[in-house]
Amino acid sequence: MNANIYPAAFVLMFCFMMPAPDVVAQTAAKPGSGPEHTAEQHRRGPKKIALTDSKGAVARLWKPDLTTLPLTVEHGNITLPRTGVDNYHAVVVEKDRVDLKEVLIRYEYMHGKPSGHSTSELTAAEKTPFEIVPDPVPREHQHYRSDQRWRFFLRFKGTPAAGIPVTLETSHGTRVNAVSDSEGEFSLHIPDDFPDLKEGERDKRTAEFSISAETKDNGILYRTMLSAEYRVNPSHWQSSGLGVAVTGFGMLAGVLLGSIGLTETKRKAR
């Protein structure tokens, strides 16, 4: 297996995902030049994906029940249709040439009726021969955030892919490298690289990261990429130390209240 990494050379790349009205105004996001946008609460509009080079790309949407829908790529954009089903869906975009197979995967939460299926079924399903699998995908109401470490694993034709270098690259241009272990697992620290952060002020910006890897098998080069959104770590405006201190004050107040109560009880008893 060949393990050279050229993530910047990937032809296929997600820009970002947004409700349809907003995406028109955005430009293609390449590492280092990615636009930032504010994390809106519960974006429910149709989502769009922009590809930097969509020629020959075939896209499918995996629903939580593991059925798939073909997606149309129009002028480099993919609009995700409403499925009416709640939970994570996987967007899989593939480009297949004789000696090069490229794939890009993205897990997107869509709203609707309860699916009755766990996201673990979606991640366990083999969606493409060479795949970066989040382990786990952030749970509902959880997000990838800067300054956090997350686990992933690499799967090649259904088996763990060991010893493969992987690279995480953010839309702010930061790169982090790792190598998959014997079980195909690796963990990556999402960099705290949002510019112009002000300590103590909430920051709702979001950015993109992509994790990429490649391997060679029987003369065919396989390239895979997982992309996702990440947000600013709330530790910039939340203080654990002060939280502990306030809890301490609460305990002190409890002790005082308890002792006052005891004094009253004793007085009454007398």
Binding site: Q41, H42, P64, N87, P114, S115, G116, H117, S118, T119, S120, P136, V137, R139, E140, H141, Q142, G200, E201, R202, P234, W237, Q238, S239, S240, L242, G243, V244, A245, V246, T247, G248, F249, G250, M251, L252, A253, G254, V255, L257, G258, G261, L262, E264, T265
Partner: protein
Amino acid sequence: MNPMKNLSVIRKLVQITAFIFFVYGGTLTGYYLADKVTGALPALSCAYDMQGSDLCTLIPFQHQMDHRLGEAIAGGGNLMMGLMPTLITLGTFLILFVFLNKAFCGWICPLGTFQELLHNLGQKLGLRRRESLDQGLVHRMRPVKWLILLLLVFGFPLMTGIGWVNHDLGDPFCRICPSRILTTLATGDSSQLYLDNANTTTLVLSLIADFMFGLMIALSLTIRQPFCRTCPMLALHAVFRKLGLLRLVKNATPRCDRCGLCAKACPMDISEIHTEMQRRDVTFEDCTLCGRCVEFCPYKDVLQLKYAMIPVFSADPAYFKPRKRAQRNWEQNSLLSILKSGHATLKPKQS
């Protein structure tokens, strides 16, 4: 007394098992929300606990008020569609609730178990505990749980969805709930113990949360179930308590006037168990169906826990006497008493 015939011991075993299952059971059931047992548990098992096996029904209620009903009202949408998720959650809650009624508080709730264990610790440390709170205080505190249910679980989230208040009030009860801090800390995750400077709302809510968490810990050592008395889940249970199959039933006798042991045993200080002479169903709004009043009632069949009208545990003098002895022994064996007795033996005898 054989511990396996002691209802309090049996209850404690059930509570600890439930605590482990609901706080850490996600490793068995699965990580994602779709893997949770019901998603509408009538007990404070927190969704912020990433290892939990289920989550309390107050979370979806707040969420649905904010993002479904509130948005439907604000957007002039179909109100029935906005209300439907809440009705589904309520239906799930009721299916579970019918089986155990308010015993979800006394037997299942992880936060209730934590407070009881702390109280036991206080006993064992020899801290001077208050057997019962002042009845005036108990009565003054009773409306608090209703206010929290109406305002923090339904009111503010709905107003957030309509757009009348800021989004940080979309889930105000979760933001002050001690179970969020406790259950996450129990899994080694300290991310929920914080002071949030984002804005005044988050600052106030996080101040209340942290302060109340500390207060609850300290008070639990000397007072029984301090947070439970203000818990909105208790109020929600109270609304539907007539539907539950498990009930506390009283067959009052004139001797009840003189005794009062049941009220003294009650961890929620419900004096009405003792004074009520007319009603048979004495599952009062604050009752957690823990069964302690039945254990400490000395008169045969005066108090009973009935499941679908079938008595499952009844007051009995044959149970009461050894149970009272066991309680006395339990309370006497504290660290303080051991230290005192050790100190006494070490003292040189004076001739």
